[in-house]
Symmetry: C2
Subunit: 206 residues, 2 copies
Amino acid sequence: MAGKVFFSVSMSLDGFIAPESPEELMGRQWMELQAWVFPLRFFRENLKLGGGGEQGRDNDIARETFERTGASVMGRRMFDAGEQAWPEEAPFHTPVFVVTHEKRDPWERTGGTTFHFVNDGIEAALDQARETAGDRDVRIAGGGATILEYVNAGLIDEFSVAVSPVLFGRGVRLFDGVDASRIALDQVRSEPSSRVTHLTYAVRPR
Amino acid sequence: MAGKVFFSVSMSLDGFIAPESPEELMGRQWMELQAWVFPLRFFRENLKLGGGGEQGRDNDIARETFERTGASVMGRRMFDAGEQAWPEEAPFHTPVFVVTHEKRDPWERTGGTTFHFVNDGIEAALDQARETAGDRDVRIAGGGATILEYVNAGLIDEFSVAVSPVLFGRGVRLFDGVDASRIALDQVRSEPSSRVTHLTYAVRPR
């Protein structure tokens, strides 16, 4: 059975998933948005930050999201930012298909992450990711513009949003430009933790 | 002990609480946004639509929101729209303070709703509502612009958002223009029902 295509992001209560400019990525708002992730045992393990860290439902959800993922897809901007920021052992541990115009050989990192550069659009990248993932799921990792392209193309089966108790006021909105007339949602799951609420929706065409 | 100042709205997952124009108020998106309310026993009782209706957590939440409210505050636009749309027995059953430039005598409806027209700003309207509400809470009923004025003035203690599984794409955003640099949120409660997720936050200054 083929896996699902999904995305999973942290979103501010007012709908933002990133600050306006990458320079703000270590800023206060971003840190608050992601505050639920940093203390997790899974986060510490995955980035080799040493032992310890919190267990519990947030940690389980982060781990499940990782484990269901057989391959990831990301846009050029997310890759460009990450290429500088990720540690030598990039945190994906699966093949990652980068939608880009740049022609480049696969870039293999230790720990199982290999970046493949796909030059012929989002559907081609997804096809390659699906092939690789087998019966595991394909995660559209980001950034926001890439996620939205997949949403508007009707290629997302399901997504999760961790709603953080923070207001951004400005930045990159998850659904800015969504084709709302063509997309219907079903609430699949809603799980509060002490820090955020994890909302999961299935997507279907109208 | 004085009551709290709160608001409670239904919000689309992409952050909208109303369509762009009042003419769309009976449109598809609005109906989907409010779809969790219409089947409730409390909704049917309150609007005298006859017996029946669903019980359960959504119904309890709607009833609790009503019962905690000792007085409401609303903006002129919400009042103008409602003046046409509300039934003879308006659904508030408490004093309602309307922030407006219009000078007008109190307008008493059957069933306990009396509209008072306050001409000297949001703080004056809130003071009068607080006085009337005693130890019950004051609800900032809407619309969006009025809620935001109270948020940015630091006058909201707590609020609830029923996140509906619908995308608007455009319309009136709850937090458009929020002064995010001055407002911090604490997640107080998060309660899923089968149709929506009820998120409750406390507001404090930064």
